[in-house]
Symmetry: C2
């Protein structure tokens, strides 16, 4: 099996797990946050900078790479790792989320999804087979199943039909993936916010004995409390000896809450996107660096942060760069926000190890301002 999780410890007061994710491109400590590199680059960052921040696995997007530069070009380059000069692990999504959300004029059949490229309007088609073949060309370590991320809210009927198609499509993905010695297929539990449907979905996909499972269809606009409730009853349905990935979640509170519910892996574009808009994550909450309060503030974003940005630059300088549309500003903000998250995950792992995760959560939430 290309990818496996070694569970080192289970917390006795929460469902949190401490582990090591073994992949063909390195061993990653879990729980882990995966930075997103949509177009074969984590925006603004070099691979070396990602490594320096402590990132060992990144996510990249099948939909975007399928359209540009095309998976055949990346295959020709020797795969995505070689193409983008990243020797850490890569998880690729299946494109399902994007064809359902970005693709215009989509036509869904049992066979797959016809859609128009957001780049040039040309007609394209993705199916479980094609999405898997694309990911085989990319050579990612973890291949996500081609699914429908059921929108929120969804009627029970829609959610049931959608999850059942996701299961049928998953089987076709599994049949297509012939490179299981070096690529691991993760199935995705759907079922919207219906407990019985989540149970049905989990039962159907775990039956396929895949190397890993994701919880999909969350963080799609529902209240956070509802997401936590779904995780409460869904995660225990997944096998303990397989990695569990919560898709599209990366806010500090949801990372901690997700870990406490047994999640090992997370991804989200938000931390890097808000960085580029001039907002920094700090342990005392968000700091909008572009605001006037930072104009004459010659202190770093966070004096306790060990990132390159905080060690060398003031809020005043960062604000100047952001207001002047300077690329260095985007770089420095991204470095800080990613370091904030790798550091948060590292603190979470230490807290699990030392049996103090609930106390860590309480202190973090208090300082961050979530309890106000």
């Amino acid at each position: 099996m290309a990818v496996r999780i070694e569970v080192l410890k289970e917390d006795n007061r929460t469902r949190a797990r401490l582990g090591k994710l073994h992949t063909p491109h390195g061993v990653i400590e879990t729980p882990v946050f995966m930075p997103v590199g949509t177009q074969a680059t984590v925006k603004t960052m070099t691979p070396e900078e990602l490594k320096d921040l402590g990132a060992g696995i990144i996510l990249s997007n099948t939909y975007h790479l399928f359209l540009r530069p095309g998976h055949e070009l990346i295959r020709e380059a020797g795969g995505l790792h070689a193409f983008m000069h990243w020797d850490g692990a890569i998880l690729t999504d299946s494109g399902g989320f994007q064809v359902f959300s970005l693709g215009d004029l989509r036509k869904i059949t049992e066979e797959g999804v016809e859609f128009r490229s957001h780049l040039d309007g040309s007609k394209k088609f993705l199916s479980p087979e094609i999405a898997t073949q694309v990911q085989m060309a990319l050579g990612s370590d973890i291949v996500m199943a081609f699914d429908e991320c059921t929108p929120y809210p969804a009627t029970r009927d829609y959610a049931k039909a959608s999850l059942e198609r996701t299961t049928r499509w998953l089987k076709r993905c599994q049949e297509t993936l012939t490179t299981t010695d070096r690529q691991a297929l993760f199935g995705i539990v759907q079922g919207s916010m219906y407990e019985d449907l989540r149970k049905q979905s989990a039962a159907e996909i775990t039956e396929l004995d895949l190397p890993g499972y994701a919880v999909g269809g969350l963080s799609v606009g529902e209240p956070k409390e509802l997401m936590y409730e779904v995780l409460d009853y869904t995660v225990p349905l997944l096998p303990k000896d397989k990695p569990r990935y919560l898709m599209g979640v990366g806010s500090p509170d949801a990372l901690i809450e997700g870990v406490m519910r047994g999640i090992d892996m997370f991804d989200c574009v938000l931390p890097t996107r808000i960085a580029r808009n001039g907002t920094a994550l700090t342990r005392y909450g968000k700091l909008v660096v572009r605001n006037a309060e930072s104009a004459h503030d010659f202190s770093p974003i966070d004096p306790t942060c060990d990132c390159y940005t905080c060690k060398n630059y003031s809020r005043a300088y960062l604000r100047h760069l952001i207001k002047a549309d300077e690329i260095l500003g985007l770089r420095l903000m991204t470095i800080h926000n990613l370091r904030f998250l790798t550091n948060l995950m590292s603190e979470i792992r230490a807290a699990i190890k030392e049996n103090r995760l609930p106390e860590y959560r309480e202190k973090f939430f208090y300082e961050y301002g979530y309890l106000k």
Copy 2:
């Protein structure tokens, strides 16, 4: 004297000089190309990356920093070096070039220039005194005189009146600069393309015994042969024991030709600007990486180049980044073009040292394609 040049060798077949420029922020080998950091950042680059490329001195712009974030803010930050985290040397221009070219609705009097900010249209005023005071707040190692860069073409009458005002303004700059222990004022020879006016200007400004001199009013649209001709008769008018700076010149041919005419320092935005547009400088000429020929080319920009970009990335990947508007593409292209120039200057210095500059020029021009 804050800045001085130590001339190590004079070429015996050309006017080229090998030297060391001593500044309060390090010793720089000359001839040198100075990357441009207009808004207190060399676009896309960190200071550490600049150092790694071999850059020891950069240029920054008074006009832009005066308008945003304002020189008082930078003074408050401890000066430009501290503000932007650069401990190498900095040369600041005077803003003269920009108020005459970027500033809308300018009004020129003997006192100075009233103009409208290109940012918000507000009325601003720069004079020799103010431009110098701004540069004192910035704390640059080399302070350029507030001059008029005479446009091309100019009538003899205009050019004469302009250079004479530049001389009068230079005296006011000299009287204003009280920090000569740590900041060196460079005067600027004007006179357009008129030999007698260049002589008049050089005589007037060298009389002030300044720590350095620039040749201005070139690379403003005139044919290159004309620029070389002006350098032929102007540079010998400047004292041998002072650094000589040719403003706004950075194309490979003009760097070599300028060095052969006795120039020590150069700056130009072009190499970094074309990098961001997807054009790489190579010893075999310009390579437009965004062109279709690079799509399936998995070789680096230049296999003999030692830069980070060429060591790790293919033309195909760079083209993908550029076409996808990814910031990493701008970074990698900038790194390459700046390294190309620091490397070119290093080769020029070696050629002077080894008495083979004319032969180096011939080989470089042949390979680059200038002789075709």
